[in-house]
Symmetry: D2
């Protein structure tokens, strides 16, 4: 049994990790940290996690917990995560970091968007971006995974086949995303109070969201040149789910069949990407609670625009599920272990 | 007192007309039709409309009701509306048609998108598109108003200043809209059943929605050349509201201040358009129950893209409120009569 | 024009007062206080209140604002309200207190449930409980109104005719209430975060809620003896509305018609109580945004139990609307002024 | 592998059965019927059930499918179910009927509440009411299970220990239940349209709901005398969950500790009943997607009333999950097989 530890387990991401890991036959959760909730049991915060009624939050004392696990899931705030990740990594532990700290390869880009310097650039170079659909082989050999952001997961999976195969004009990509409120985290904040979010809908951080450089880094990697994109996130009055609607002009006459073939080929072996029939569009409700990314395609022949729509559960494929998928790959477990579930519908 | 009649009053649009008109000191509702609910009282269908407890639905017998009113609001299904509108118009009545039947000036375009021929092309030429922000003078003199669609209202108001002032590249406009479920109408339909819509979010009619040619017609009119656009509607799990996020490349270097000035100038006298401070984005919750269109602006200088976000209540500015605004203009009532309300927040 | 001031205007109750008062032709709002938001404009907190864009929050300096208004609406936290109310009242101002501080006539009961002593017992004796359906005449002559709590409004209006007419056994009344989330106030609090409330439903403060003695006081007053009740509040995943389901055994054989007649007679002149047809039950959605209390009745003849169901909008009839109704009565304005609106449905 | 068949698989109950059974290692689903959707695949109706992409709906031809399975889950409308259940039962198949047809032991009571006669009274006498917490031993030996209704499950589990131990006055039990919209089934019906349910809350079938005699039958069984109860269902704007608040006077002075002990003893061995700490109340959100019934207790010492609050997921413990639990018991599988899951929170 692999011993795993969760650093930062009092948010929605941590609680979702615990839910998913409870189904995993090859691991055991040996501890979970929270500074603010230290001393409380997991079920004090999350009564539904009653399988963990004996697990208590403890403060993150890196030196002490080092020996308690083989793999550390890090769900700490960015900036804080840097240090702890570096510590466990240098001590030879497998680390999967759900924060943004090791996602951007260029520390200058990180500093520009996150307003803090990156202090562990050597370790940073060892991190693998944990999107299996691009980096499965690298993940297999990695000791440090930078688990992708929720928005980037939906955006990159929507763009990957089109970008790799140069179907689209890369200079005017529009990515319009809509996320459920769990994306904002678990916190006492008027901006996410029920009556402020319910029956509302709005954009935020237009053109300035920190997931923008992450999307750009991976899209650039896929096509081999520097790409910048328009990315607009919106806040949906639902708990879970991100729907991303992507628009890009096609570069030359191409048929629907050709587009569909490119997407089919790209994802035919992927266990967690489901390409819907052409003209069928995904609904976040159909992936709720699952690690799937569903993709719908439309070629608008009037405007010569390819429209790709993706749906994920931001807490699963957009965070904790993908982290478990990465662990499965790193540890040579069957990739779908603990993730082979059906959406809770309705 | 102006006598008004509502043809097709059993849907959400009709019920919203009755709500708004109940506050109007210069009119009296003399009747309301519904084929299916004929004989029932308005309060049988809508208990909250208890001020209308004496009003009963009657079948639409055009000849009989002709003398009962000076102005007819038509909220019939497209196709059906054509005939009744023509009848009342030819008999000299003022008509405000909330259906799509008289919105598209070119009957071939109408037939292409609505799959029925337009049989009243002479009358069609007399119709004025009832968006006061473009056609206030024409509305003043009109006898037949084609009340704009809900999506087009939000899209056109977002684009108007930029298009008129040639700030943007007109060949690659992306319009990504998200509408509350009242937009689907009041009907027994599994697709809008609570458990199918709640906690869900999805696109539909991607690139094929019937409001597309309506947006294109007006944008083309504003710039004097034929424009086609990318338009994608989505279904939001809320009752009311449309948020529209518009993307268009700017044509030359232009500053934020210049853009803001163009928008300010365009709307400074408009009673129902509110330009938000630059960098503030609208929320459908803030216009709920009102006739306002709120507009937020962002110039993405990394991508040279103008992003315009608009919010309306689809049942008010997107339907019944705009119809009353048009009536006020036609009848020389104060334009804000019955519409000068504050959003119900939260 | 009556000058009115709002002390404590940064919560949902204050914002709703501003919305309702914006429709009132006989008053002018001369100021609004908030300690935390002092210096900000009303529209900084509530963009939808753009009619008040020139109104700024100021700290509550009782001496300074004394001359600025004739009537003070007090929407302060309990405990704090005591002092300010006493001050304005003693200086001859009309005061409508939306807090709980002057609702309970017996200061010992107040101290027991609110855990603070009542320091202004002389003033307390002058307060009139502002439920017009019981105390309209007293309100007319009052200078200090204790505006009823939201739950008590729905519960007392449901019980009033049955209690006054001794239709029910008073010793085993069950009051099961369900409130929208605005009832919890506007605050940064994890317990009312969107993802905690949405898709959830739970009871709280079972048998211990502070509105219990308020309900008991008024029910006891109506029947002339000391009554205690079972009261259970629940949190509904909606913005607005309280539905209260009341159960009480009937004392003797009585027919449906007799019960209906008692309720009809009790409320026939009430402008804001609507008795629904027997067997029709109210929906909070039908009173949303209005000052109405709707009441449905059922005599369960199998169990000899009277079931009364009431619906109000907790922010209107349950708070700010009732406060304006009380003001209208005190000031001899037409009682329905600013309140004669139709629900926003859907 | 046990072969199971689902008769009536196009509703929410059928789709939830398929979801749960997909996790069951000891069974195989050999077919699923639907008259209206015959010929369609399961994924045409429910795209999220992609594991069943090869399974097609077929019409219910009882004779033909008889040999295809060992156990039949029946999720047909009441009245229809009678016949098919009788057929499969008489042919020696194990049958679990999710309809109401075999729940009421007295056919006269059935006819009175369901308005159709019961034509299979001999078979009816063989049916076991499938609430394991009362009838586990009988279920073990049964060939025909009448799966309990959703409301009765929550109500009976809340009452069981108190009734069996005579803690409460049985003549004035009040059961106030609130159910999510999946309880109304999957159908095109205006009453469950999104905009009619969202932001609303109402009671229905007050004192007349068909689950009333089912609750009464089992409560009467538990105490050995004829009990009638007040039962009021309400419609909650959520997908899943029933919260039931039960009120009953205690018969004699009893302490909190004694009550807690009675409940603890009653449920200490139950795998799917979780008694919460005294003073903690359940939330439907914490049981969403699970087979758990959570129970909270309060002794109101002011009114000498016991208040019991239960939460279940109406589609799981209230329907399909309980059906699988019954199957596990009948077939001597581990009782928690396929049901040992954690709630999807948030």
């Amino acid at each position: 049994m692999l011993k795993v530890f969760i650093c930062g387990g009092s948010g929605y991401t941590g609680c979702e990790l615990l839910r998913i890991l409870s189904n995993h036959p090859e691991i055991i959760v040996t501890g979970v940290t929270s500074e603010r909730s230290a001393g409380k049991s997991v079920t004090d915060l999350f009564p539904h996690l009653h399988k963990y009624s004996n697990l208590q939050y403890e403060p993150l004392r890196a030196g002490e917990i080092l020996t308690k696990a083989d793999l550390f899931f890090m769900a700490l705030p960015h900036g804080e995560s840097q240090i702890a990740v570096d510590f466990f990594f240098k001590h030879g532990k497998a680390v999967i970091d759900l924060s943004a700290d090791y996602r951007l390869r260029d520390p200058k880009v990180y500093e520009k968007w996150y307003k803090v310097p990156h202090r562990f650039q050597v370790t940073l170079q060892k991190a693998v971006y944990g999107l299996p659909e691009i980096y499965r082989n690298e993940i297999r050999r990695a000791k440090l995974i930078a688990n992708p952001g929720c928005y980037p997961t939906g955006a990159i999976l929507g763009l990957l086949p089109a970008v790799k195969n140069r179907l689209i004009n890369l200079s005017s990509i529009v990515i319009d995303s809509k996320s459920g409120a769990t994306g904002a985290g678990r916190k006492a904040d008027l901006a996410v109070a029920y009556c402020e979010v319910n029956e509302g809908f709005r954009a935020y951080a237009v053109g300035t969201h920190r997931h923008t450089p992450e999307i750009e880094q991976e899209v650039s990697f896929l096509c081999g040149k520097d790409i910048i994109v328009n990315f607009t996130p919106h806040l949906l009055p639902v708990d879970r789910g991100i729907l991303t609607t992507i628009y890009a002009p096609i570069v030359k006459k191409i048929t629907v069949n050709e587009i569909v073939k490119v997407y089919k080929d790209a994802y035919k072996k992927e266990p967690f990407v489901r390409l819907l029939e052409y003209g069928i569009y995904p609904n976040i409700k159909n992936v709720c609670g699952t690690n799937f990314c569903e993709i719908g395609l439309k070629l608008n022949e009037r405007t010569n625009t390819l429209i790709v729509i993706t749906a994920i559960d931001n807490l699963v494929k957009g965070a904790s599920g993908q982290a478990v998928q990465d662990m499965n790959i790193m540890m040579s477990f069957e990739e779908k272990t603990a993730l082979d579930t059906i959406a809770l519908f309705p």
